[in-house]
Subunit: 231 residues, 4 copies
């Protein structure tokens, strides 16, 4: 069942380990089959060293386990909320990668300080407000997803153009057209978060790049006029 997607999600989970984005079991990647409305996500608390396809859990969008011997990631309700709100996304990754997590803990948006950022995120990477006590005490993981969705929608953002949000006091949730792209964007976000930290330390009055440069770099890589890479 969903063998190709399960393999893709497994590889994406192993990739966040290989890229140094997680220690121990601190991260998860999922993918969705939009036709069938089924999500694949890794099992909760499984070490990357022993992870196999067998640890991939299949769920429907209401969170019912359709296949799999293990409990899914405890962050599963956040993933499901995002899949339901953003029909254009196909993969989600969550990590506690240190630089992105630090911006989340600092409760700050990451300004577009350079073209490295502009190549992949079309504008400021937003950080949510702090979660409220009632959101935390009740269906916390669902509310985490709702807060991410509200942050994207209130700012009028296209989720594929700004493919990630920092959850205040927690860390990054990042997505893409598929699980591999979600991981790619998470690695980019980590690098961008690191360089933005350095930038502000070197110049406390550093200013974001202008709209023209943001446009040029983002659309050099994305959209119908892109001219980066091979045809």
């Amino acid at each position: 069942m969903l063998e190709i997607l399960k393999k893709e999600v497994l590889e994406a989970n192993l990739e966040i380990k290989n890229k140094g984005m997680v220690i121990y079991t601190w991260g998860n990647v999922s993918g969705i089959d939009r036709r069938q409305g089924l999500v694949v996500i890794k099992a909760s608390g499984v070490s990357y060293e022993e992870m196999t396809e067998d640890h991939m859990v299949v769920l429907d969008l209401e969170g019912n386990v359709i296949e799999g011997r293990y409990r899914p990631s405890s962050d599963t309700p956040t993933h499901l909320a995002l899949y339901k709100a953003f029909p254009e996304i196909g993969g989600i990754t969550h990590t506690h990668s240190p630089w992105a997590t630090a911006w989340a803990q600092a409760s700050r948006d990451i300004p577009v300080y350079g073209t490295t950022h502009a190549d992949y995120f079309y504008g400021t990477i937003p950080c949510t407000r702090a979660m409220k006590e009632e959101e935390i005490k009740n269906d916390y993981e669902v509310q985490t997803g709702n807060l991410i969705i509200r942050t994207i929608k209130e700012k009028g953002l296209d989720p594929l153009k700004v493919p990630g949000v920092l959850v205040s006091g927690h860390g990054p949730f990042v997505w893409g057209k598929n699980p591999g792209e979600a991981v790619y964007n998470a690695v980019v976000l980590e690098e961008v978060a690191k360089i933005a930290f350095m930038t502000e330390n070197i110049n406390s009055h550093a200013s974001p790049i202008c709209k023209a440069l943001l446009d040029r770099h983002y659309f050099r890589k994305h959209g119908s006029n892109a001219y980066y890479g091979q045809k």
Copy 2:
């Protein structure tokens, strides 16, 4: 004698090297067999490259060597003091891992800036006061243990919920239910110390997460209502 524990302590010592927590001989891990009241700790000043079970020293809680050809770690009296004061702990690790050591040298508690911290430490990670001259000049290593114990007790902390303390001007002592968990918590502390440093650099007015979020994350992973990981 205590073959399983010796092997466990050896592996935990090698693990702090593998995780990049120590250079040269700068760290030690011990474990205790509570039934027999015997502690296993690595020999003093042995390089991790050549460490074998033969370098594991067995002592009673008064510090008498029961088995082993080598002198035990010079920090042994600190470990013994902690085992006597905290009957619920089964393993202790001490390192000079850079980020945790920096907070210790800065004589500052690590605030709970995010869920990465809250997942494993139920509250602020305390730093002791500076040691007094008379504590240093006499049975220094015993007094180091006593100061850690006093710090935990004066703050009314449960040593398994806040499984580590920074010793001012020195570095972290971290523990757990067994040697492996002590190492795990030491690695977490190092990561948390690093991200907290970054957080304050990104936002000098960063504030700790609220009690509700601390509770949610800590108890998601610990205690009878935990729902992280497999059953």
Copy 3:
């Protein structure tokens, strides 16, 4: 065609990956055959893992592809502009290496804080002004090259003595007598940028070294009186 240069450029591209200067496809190295007036550069968006000589594209100085099945790097016009303006250079490398990129994002020149810098860059490493909207909107990559050239010329610098420039809001472009030297200088710039960051954090009033020390170290390694290395 140009087999030796293609091999040299391929190896230089792989070297920026091996030295940890790039992630994914974020960098490019080119080389020039001055007699034939032909440039070799890597194809756009190719991963370093699968890069072979086949991905090396040969162009003339006007940007016409002479040989190669792939589209050249999107930064090719910048390289060509530099080759035309600086006849003494033989290789160029562009990366988004984090420390150099952070100085570029901070829009700051890197002061000569020490002999590590003076050994390879004969003076301050300049950062361009921000690019103007009209430069960005039109032939952006050509204008990037022109801005680098103007920065070098307006400051009266010898491009082989200050073999690199930071492009404001973007990152470093670095060159040398050949592709290998361009990569070497890019690695040096990254290290120098890192140590300069640390220096200012340790002493916010740090001052550059004196002219005599700059001269001594630069000319110890370069020019007819050099006495570093083997004859």
Copy 4:
């Protein structure tokens, strides 16, 4: 000739590479045979990848090459000055390791912020004053040595108890009883420099540890009352 010392010096040079203390050819280690008054140092500008015993150069204390096909390190006169001034030392290492170099570029002594420092350096690690123009213009490398010697002597330090000095605007020179110990102390200095940087960033009012703690840790590892390690 001096086969054992040459092997020791070769291994010490390779060790600074293995410990991540140098890139390219940026460092050198020497050793001395006190009975014969002969020094072994690596050849200038040789890459660590291809370094063999053949690249070890033997000199007398006046700098005459006694054996070896290559030019010795350009820093050789600094090493010779130190060997002549400090008869108790047997090995010297010089690197541009980033954290120690940053303190040197910042022209600051490294305060004793913790026991990690106190375990190996008995007090503040001094930074020289900036070199004067006439020192730089004439026999620069000899004057570098003389400035290090003056710094140690004016502060009344025992060179084996404070086995290293930062040269302002340049980097660390570190020594020990033999080449291996010189490298060990250089690695310690780098780690101590890094943690001191972090310490000041975490607490801008951090204060050095007290004399009693410095004494306790230093003499726990050194001298006749040492009780660290095996007998």
